[in-house]
Assembly symmetry: C3
Homo-oligomer: 348 residues x 3
C-alpha cells in the first residue's frame, strides 16, 4: 500500500503541516523509520528521538508539532490516529466470498455469499455465518452457531453448539467458545456432571485471544459485552457477564457467575472467585487475587513483588507469625502504657 | 424432549407430590422457569423464590417440600437429582457409528462399529476406539492410542502417541494429552531434551477441560485416576499422579512427579511445585502456592487478597522489612523486660 | 532398537566397565530396570538403589562406579549421557519426505522434498519448509512462514503469517506462534486495535510447549533466542525478547516488550509486567510476581506459601494493617527511648 501524506491526512481527518506529496508505505517507530514511514510520538519521554528520526511524517499533538523538523499530522490523540493510519497502510486482505473445497459444511448451514469458509474448516447444521465474515483454516463451527457480519476467525477457532458471535469480532487461534463449563453435583464421593444448557453470547467488536476459553452458561447465558477485549489464555467460567469495553490481559481466570462491569481493565494473571460483583471502571493490577466483590470504581492490587530469594525467605517465615507479632506489639503497647502511668509520664 | 412429571419421578427414583401429568420440556432456575420447566432449590437463601416461581415442578428436600405451592419431586440431594433430570430432559444426541468420509484413518486402527469418527479427524496407526465412543471434528488420535467405551472427544482434541483414555471420558476442545513433557539435561549452557518414553493414562469417567494439557511420563506413566475432573487451562506435568475423584479448577498447574490423593479439590490458579506428596481429602483455595507436601487432610490457603492499590503499596513496602520488624519487636520486648526489672515491675 | 553396551559406549564416547556384549533395548529407572535396560544415578540420595537394580548397565560418575555391582558407563554428567542414550535406544521415526494427500498446500509454498506435510495440514502461500522438517497432522502454516531444517511440529501447531522458526525446533500441539498481540488505542471508552505488523522469530533449537502462545511484534519482532525452551501454557507478549538458552516453565506470562537475558530459568506461573529488563543468569522461583527490572544475576522470589487456611486468614487480616503495625512499633521505640532517657538507662 502506498499513499500520499495529503491523502492520508484527509482519510484520517488530521491536519497536515509540511509536504503533502510525501509517499508513505508503512508505519514505524521513530528510531527505525525510513523516509517512506509514518511514525508518531506517544510518550513525551521519547521526544528526543523526534529530532533524529528519518520518518517521512510523524503524528504529533499540536504542542509537539512546533518542534518537529519534518512533515507532521496533528492529532489530539496521536496513538489513536497512528492505529488508524496503520490500518490504512497495512490493510487486511479483503474477504472474498466462498467455501474452500476441503471445508466440510452441513447443507443446512446458512452462509452469506460474501463470507469465506477456509480450508479444512467444519460448519455444522443450522450454523449462520454473516456477510463478510472470514472463517480461517481448520475452524470448527458447531451446530446452530451464529457469526455476525465482518467477524474474523483467524484460524483453528472452535465455536461450540449454540454460540453467538456479534459483528466485527476478531477471534484468534486456539480460542474455544461455548464449551460446557465446570458444573458437577456430588454423589457421595463421585462427581456427576450437570448438563450445561446455556450459551456463550459475544457482543459486537469483541476480541478473543489465542487459546482463550469462554464457557457456555449452565442455565442462562455467559455474556461478553460489546467492545470487550480478551487477551490470550484467559478462562471465563459459566454464566460470567462482562460489561462493554472491559479489557482483560493474558492468563487471567474469572470463575463462574461473576459479573464484571463496563470499562474495567484487568491486568494479566488475575484470579477472580465466583459469584462476585465487580462494578464499572474497576481496575486490577497484575496477579491480583480477587476474593470479594468490588462494586466501587478504583484501582485494586494484591500480591508480593519479587525480591532476592534469601530476603524473601526471611520475610515469608515472619509472615507465618504475623498474627502473633501483632499480638506481641499490642502487649508491648499495654506494658508501655502501664509503665508510663507508673512512672508518671504522660503521652503529651 | 417432553416427559410427564410422573415418568420423570419414576426414572429418577424420586417421590412425587402433586400433579404427575404435568408435561416438562426443560430445566430452569426458579426465577426464569415456565410451566414446562423443572427447577430446584439448592441453597436455602433462595427459598424466597419458591413462592413466586412459575416452574411446573420443583425438586426439594422433604423439609422444603412442605412450603411449596406446586408440584414437587422430593430428594435428599436436590442438586444431584436436578443434574440427572437435566440429562433426561436435555439428552445428548445418540452416537451413530461410522467414520466421516473426510476423516483420515490409518488402516491398522481398530474402530468399534458403534463409534463415530468425525469430519477432518485423524486416527493414526494401531489406535483402538471403543464401543459408543464419539470423536468429534478435527481431533488427532495418535499412534497406539486407546479410547474406552462411550468416551466423548467434543472437538479438536489431541491425544499423542500411546495415550490411554478410559470409559465415559469427556474431553473438551484444545485438550492435549500425552505430549512429551519438559525434561532436559544440561550440557554446559545448552539444554538437551530427555526423550519422554512414558504415557499419559486416564482412568474411567475422567473429564479434561478446554486447552488443558496432560504430559506423558518421562519414564513410567502420568496417571489420572477414575472420576477425576479437570477444568480448562490446567497443566499436568510428567509423572504426576492424581487420585480418584479429585477435582481441579481452571488455570492450575501441577509440576512433574507430584502425587495428589483421592477426593481432593484444588481451586483455580493454584501452583504446585514438583515431587510433592498431597494426601487424600486435601483442599486448596484459589491461587494457593504449594511449595511443600501436604500429606494430611485439611483446607490450605495462601496469597494476599486484593485491596485498594494505595493501601497495598504501603503494606507491601513494609513486608519487605518484616524480618527486620520482627527483630525490632523482639528488641523492644527485651528492653521492656529490662526496664520492668529495673523499676521493680513484674509481669504479673 | 537393540544395541550392545559396547556399541552404545562408543556412540556416547563413554568409558565402559564390565561386559560390553550386554544387549540393551530401553532406558529405565534403577528401581524398574530389567536386564535389557540402561539406567543411571543422578541424585546421590538414590545411591542405595544401585546395589539392588536389575539394570543391564548403569551410567555413573567415576566415583560412584567403584561401588557398582554390574556393568557401568562412566560419565562426568550421567544425566546428560542418559538423555543421549535414551535418544539412541528410543529414536524418533525418520522423517520421510512427502505431502499427505489430504493436506491443503498452496502452489506457491516451497517445501523441501525431504520434508513431510501431514494429513489435514494447511500450508499457505509462499511458506518455506526446510529439509527434514516434520509437519504433523492438522497444522496451519500461514502465509510466508519459514520453518528451518529438521524442525518438528508434532500436531495441530499454528504458525501465523510471517512467523520464522529456526532449525531443529520442537513445537507441541496447540502452540500458536505469531498471532496479532494485544495492542489497542483508546477512542473515548472504545478500544481500537493497533495493527500488529511485526513477526515472531524463533531461533534454532527452540522448543514451544502445548497450548503456548508467542505473539508477533507490534512494530518490529518478538524474538526467541537459540536454545530457548518454553513449557506448556506460556504467554509471550508482543516484542518480548528472550535470550539464548533461557528456559521457562508452564503457565508463566511475559508481558509486552520485556527483555529477558540468556541462560535464565523462570519457574512455573511466574508473571512479568511489560517493558522490563531481566539480565543474564537471572532465576525466578515459581509464581514470582515480577513488577520491576532485575538486571543482575541472582535468584528471586515472591509469594506466600500455602498454610492451613485458619492460620492464613489470621495472618492475612494482619497484613492489611502491616503499615500501621510498623508505625506502632516505631512509636513504641520512641517511647522506650524517651523512658530510658528519663530513667537514666542507656542502650548499653
Amino acid at each position: 500500500m502506498e499513499i500520499s501524506l495529503k491523502e492520508l491526512a484527509a482519510r484520517l481527518g488530521a491536519s497536515l503541516r509540511g509536504d503533502g506529496e510525501i509517499r508513505l508505505t508503512r508505519v514505524a517507530q521513530l528510531t527505525d523509520a525510513t523516509p517512506d514511514s509514518l511514525s508518531f510520538l506517544g510518550d513525551p519521554k521519547y521526544r528526543r528521538h523526534l529530532a533524529e528520526t528519518h520518518a517521512g511524517a510523524v503524528i504529533l499533538t499540536a504542542a509537539d508539532a512546533e518542534h518537529a523538523p519534518g512533515a507532521v499530522l496533528v492529532s489530539d490523540n496521536p496513538y489513536l490516529t497512528f492505529a488508524r493510519a496503520a490500518r490504512i497502510l497495512h490493510p487486511r486482505d479483503p474477504v472474498v466470498g466462498g467455501v474452500h473445497p476441503s471445508a466440510v459444511v452441513d447443507p443446512t448451514a446458512r452462509i452469506d455469499p460474501s463470507a469465506w469458509i477456509g480450508p479444512l474448516s467444519v460448519v455444522e447444521a443450522e450454523a449462520e455465518i454473516g456477510p463478510g465474515a472470514f472463517v480461517g483454516p481448520s475452524c470448527v463451527i458447531g451446530r446452530g452457531v451464529r457469526i455476525g457480519a465482518e467477524s474474523r476467525l483467524v484460524a483453528r477457532v472452535t465455536l461450540c453448539e449454540g454460540t453467538v458471535v456479534g459483528a466485527r469480532a476478531l477471534l484468534h487461534p486456539g480460542a474455544v467458545i461455548g464449551r460446557e463449563g465446570f458444573g458437577f453435583a456430588k454423589d457421595g464421593e463421585r462427581w456427576e456432571r450437570l448438563p450445561q444448557i446455556g450459551r456463550a453470547v459475544l457482543g459486537d467488536d469483541v476480541e478473543i485471544g489465542a487459546n482463550t476459553s469462554v464457557d457456555r452458561g449452565a442455565i442462562g447465558d455467559t455474556r461478553i459485552g460489546d467492545g470487550v477485549k480478551l487477551d490470550n489464555h484467559i478462562q471465563i467460567g459459566h454464566n460470567v457477564e462482562i460489561g462493554d469495553n472491559t479489557a482483560i490481559a493474558a492468563n487471567t481466570g474469572i470463575s463462574g457467575s461473576t459479573r464484571i462491569g463496563r470499562n474495567c481493565t484487568i491486568a494479566g494473571a488475575v484470579g477472580m472467585a465466583g459469584h462476585l460483583e465487580i462494578g464499572d471502571h474497576v481496575h486490577f493490577t497484575g496477579m491480583a487475587m480477587v476474593t470479594r466483590s468490588f462494586p466501587e470504581p478504583g484501582l485494586y492490587s494484591s500480591g508480593i513483588p519479587a525480591m532476592p530469594s534469601a530476603e524473601w525467605r526471611r520475610n515469608v517465615a515472619r509472615f507465618r507469625h504475623l498474627d502473633e507479632l501483632t499480638r506481641r506489639v499490642k502487649q508491648l503497647e499495654a506494658s508501655i502504657k502501664t509503665m508510663k502511668q507508673t512512672t508518671g509520664q504522660g503521652d503529651c
